[in-house]
Symmetry: C2
Subunit: 601 residues, 2 copies
């Protein structure tokens, strides 16, 4: 026998045909002398029928078949008897009456059912990942991802981009996150680093004149894991020469259009993607990755509240801070005082000291602080356009507290009030980022994107001093979708003098700059073209387009939150000899004992 | 200004048009008041003309321009004056008369000229790789490679394959080459391994029901480097379910056809690719990767020579060995006794103890051993079809000496005699490999392909014992092109009982098998489908199709023969703190000192 069709594609148009199918047994119903089996393959399910009349032999085999057995069957496609149709199934009008069946592999009872909405723990799903991936929704997730990469290769190849691979055994560089290191056997004590991105290599490829480069590249970061981070992740990496940022955004827009077409069949007009400066995005949404599927923009009430009788407001402004607010439409009823207290508790993580609020009634403003704001009440209602039944939430503090507080409240309350249209794709470009940002924990200035980002033309004179450089803005552009950062791009520095100013403003000495990036600085002396590009997070894009909220669902074999892989138990202990003799390193005592595998802790 | 065209694509069809071009200065000729610049971009070269009449300002700028400067020019395409045309250039009939020019970046004198056939050392080329890659032949090499991957993605996507990424931070497994290890920071003393291939992951993906998987995957081997090996390399990895090896070979044939079409514009009929068993290939060519662009097949003369008066021959056969020969057409004159001695010296590396030979004249056989073979002379000439002027080279020993000796002689002499057609693409499938091969150095039997290769159906009973298993043959198929192994494929074991027999015959105990491959064995208990696939070496394929003989020429940033990367100096020393505090390992003393960088040794 030899498969003629995918089981899941059989329908009434095949009626009367003899087909040979391969797949897994989804379930079996034994009605005594009549057995139905749902056969599953990657395209879906078809019902098989076994009976004495069709084939006594096949029926006998079918009696021994259990769920998840792998079988091969031959049979004739027939209409189901009236009333037995299944509207929800592509193959719901027919069944395959099986004349021959062979069991290709038996199966034990699986630890969880192979169906959507599994209730197994994440750890169990990862341990039996090959079973988890059999579930139709997981099959679909990885197919969406594959459609994205296929469409990407097609689009960029057509657009004249050259697919070039850069090394994974690379050099450890400062800046950025912690590197994964790979010990060298030939030079004990020396290490390769797994790259955090192909950034420097792609700039060198522009220096080499390839003009248009791309790569679907793995990147690695040995960071403490949280949320949707993975130790290894995939980025679509693009670099071009002689293009300005408008041209690059236009190109990326065309790529996005192609992707949206081929994965979710959505017709995007990339010229309609709003372009916001970073300052505007912070002002209107309190974040650099605004979810623009809904309104509820932040309103700056600083001028209005400067002289208000409510000390929290007037003091914040007197101290150089601000007062901003969001209006939650219809939120007055939904949010009890207790619920509002919960929100107030939540935003403490952003440094907010309490949460001021007002509810709007037909009579005007109410709530504990209403009495302090009688003078501002009319202006407040006019400016915020708040209506009876609405809730206003305020934040009054420095900008770095006010903005993240209201950003979080905006997203949380919109979710609660069901104001977010799940069917909407809201893209945005955020441009003109600060070149540097201050890192309070480390008390130093770091590159907001990376140390190779070109300052705005007008800000080049600022680069002459460290203090000036920290105030400069960059030729940078992030692509945002539904509140997620999809990708981050910039025009790069192609001149050594500016690159040296940048590294100096980051705290590098000429010597340490030379040690870390000497090859790049030297390269720039041999004629590097103006260049720019972008890196897009493929995992996250796949997650959003597949309609998932966990990045692990679009990665075949992801790591768990402890950076281990429960199926293979990686990382594992290796022999002391391998570490000491081969690599010249000394391992902890327990590395050669029968200690329990660390990955299972 | 904004680029309107690639410089290298301008030709006489653009005459009269104003164009804006960006690129590098290939060379400048200053004729006094008239300057010509060859402007180079990735598509080629165009001549720029500067003069007082065209633009005084542009001429002044041009006077300061040197080689490898990056410039942007605007000008009008004009026919060259009669006699100044260059037939060898796509743009040879025209020049661009420049009205505006801007220097985008200056350049120092490069350490070697940016042109084909560079005579810089390999090390210099790698150190200034961004300059080496500017050379047209290197640009072309990487574009051939990119065409291969683009055509691969297109073909496999069309054929229903799903592009799935597998982890690079994986589990160290025994068997195969030495792993590159990555220390875990969360579990000090534990290590990830960079995968030597995605083999196990792709089998698990078949277990998960994806049916058709592919990936352009990086693979890593920490081996002693030689010839065309690199620490990291790229393979096109393919796996399918429910297909037999004929079907898989047919599919791969269609892929090869698409690649040959799109890269070298060659129309391959994959049904004409010869299929040889491993035994036949060894018999006829002495190798499992025969170069079939030319004949000169090995001829087995054992029967003829069993009773010959030449003791070397008759003894070899008496000791269970063989006598084989190749005929070098026209080789009698080309190869002096001294030249033949050199060949004899060369094949000592294969264990050959001397090289017997005959020359054919109109009178018959001549040479030192002719007198011992008078009885066999007629039969020899008839069997070998040797003609006057030919040279016959013999090897008489055990098969594992005779075959590699004559394989090497066949290829060397064919090269010398210029019998190899460089324009030919000679593919072959080598099937039915031994399942195991004996490794004399380690005195053990190893898997000829890998431990997951399915034995031939008829050999399954042999698997019950270790001795039997070592005699089995496999459902395996290698694709060969012009004497290079392009890829290696097999049907995989999908049944746990056979997999356990295989691991047992490799010397695994049930416990060590469980520790190494427990997740795979467990997976097989949940219904794994019959499956098979292939891994194709992308670097080597690109090398052959680009017409190169060094794999580094098709890799953007390769490692040198010491596994270091001279441009960035990777691997490098990292701080003691990083090794000790982060990773819990102890580094050699010099790791935190100012020791010279190990990579420069």
């Amino acid at each position: 026998m030899k498969r003629t069709n995918y089981a899941g594609l059989i329908d009434e148009s095949y009626e009367g045909q003899t087909v040979t199918l391969d797949g897994w047994v989804q379930k079996r119903r034994d009605l005594g002398g009549l057995i139905f089996i749902d056969l599953r393959d990657r395209e879906g399910i078809v019902q098989l029928a076994f009976s004495d009349e069709i084939s006594k032999e096949a029926l006998t085999v079918a009696e021994s078949i259990r769920s998840e057995y792998v079988i091969e069957v031959q049979g004739v496609v027939k209409a189901r008897t009236a009333g037995a149709e299944n509207e929800n199934l592509h193959s719901g009008k027919i069944e395959v009456q099986v004349t021959q069946v062979e069991v290709l592999a038996e199966a034990k009872t699986t630890p969880f059912l192979i169906e959507d909405g599994v209730d197994a723990s994440d750890e169990t799903r990862l341990k039996y990942r090959y079973l988890d991936l059999r579930r139709p929704e997981m099959q679909e997730n990885l197919r969406v991802r594959s459609k994205i990469t296929a469409a990407t290769h097609e689009f960029l190849d057509q657009a004249g981009f050259i697919d070039i691979e850069t090394p994974y055994l690379a050099k450890s560089t400062p800046e950025g996150a912690r590197d994964y290191l790979v010990p060298s056997r030939i030079y004990p004590g020396s290490f390769y680093a797994l790259p955090q991105s192909p950034q420097l290599f792609k700039q060198l490829l522009m220096g080499a004149g390839f003009d248009r480069y791309y790569q679907v590249a793995r990147a690695f970061r040995d960071e403490d894991l949280r949320g949707d981070r993975q130790p290894e992740f995939t980025q679509l990496d693009i670099e071009t020469s002689f293009m300005n940022q408008d041209e690059i955004r236009e190109l990326v827009g065309e790529w996005v259009k192609a992707i949206m077409q081929k994965t979710v069949n959505y017709d995007l007009d990339p010229t309609t993607i709003p372009v916001l400066t970073w300052e505007e995005s912070m002002r209107r949404f309190g974040t650099d990755k605004p979810d623009m599927r809904f309104d509820m923009e932040l309103q700056d009430l600083s001028d209005m509240m400067a002289d208000s009788a409510f000390g929290v407001f007037s003091n914040a402004i007197a101290n150089g801070g601000m007062v901003k607010a969001i209006v939650v439409p219809g939120g007055a009823e939904k949010y009890s005082r207790k619920e509002i207290d919960k929100l107030g508790k939540y935003v403490e993580r952003f440094g907010a000291k309490g949460l001021a609020w007002l509810k709007i009634t037909d009579e005007g403003i109410t709530g504990p602080i209403a009495k302090f704001l009688t003078e501002q009440a009319d202006a407040l209602l006019e400016t915020t356009k708040a209506q009876a039944g609405d809730l206003i939430l305020f934040a009054a503090d420095q900008a770095n507290v006010v903005n993240p507080t209201l950003d979080a409240l905006r997203r949380m309350t919109a979710q609660t009030m069901d104001l977010i249209d799940d069917q909407k794709w809201a893209f945005a470009w955020i441009i003109d980022w600060p070149l540097f940002e201050y890192q309070p924990e480390e008390d130093r200035w770091i590159a907001a994107h990376h140390p190779f980002t070109m300052p705005n033309e007008a800000d080049l004179p600022l680069m002459a001093t460290t203090e000036g450089a920290h105030q400069a803005h960059a030729q940078s552009y992030d692509l945002v979708l539904n509140g997620y950062e999809l990708g981050s791009g910039s025009i790069r520095i192609h001149r050594m003098d500016i690159q040296q100013q940048m590294l100096s403003a980051l705290g590098f000495t000429p010597e340490s700059a030379q040690e870390a990036f000497g090859f790049l600085l030297e390269g720039m002396e041999y004629g590097f073209p103006p260049m720019g590009g972008i890196a897009l997070g493929l995992d996250r894009l796949a997650m959003i387009l597949a309609g998932r909220d966990n990045i692990r669902d679009v990665i075949a074999f992801p790591k768990n939150s402890k950076a281990t892989e429960p199926m293979t138990d990686a990382p594992t202990l290796v022999s002391k000899a391998q570490i000491e003799t081969d690599l010249g390193l000394t391992a902890p005592e327990y590395a050669d004992t029968d200690a329990p595998n660390m990955a299972e802790e």
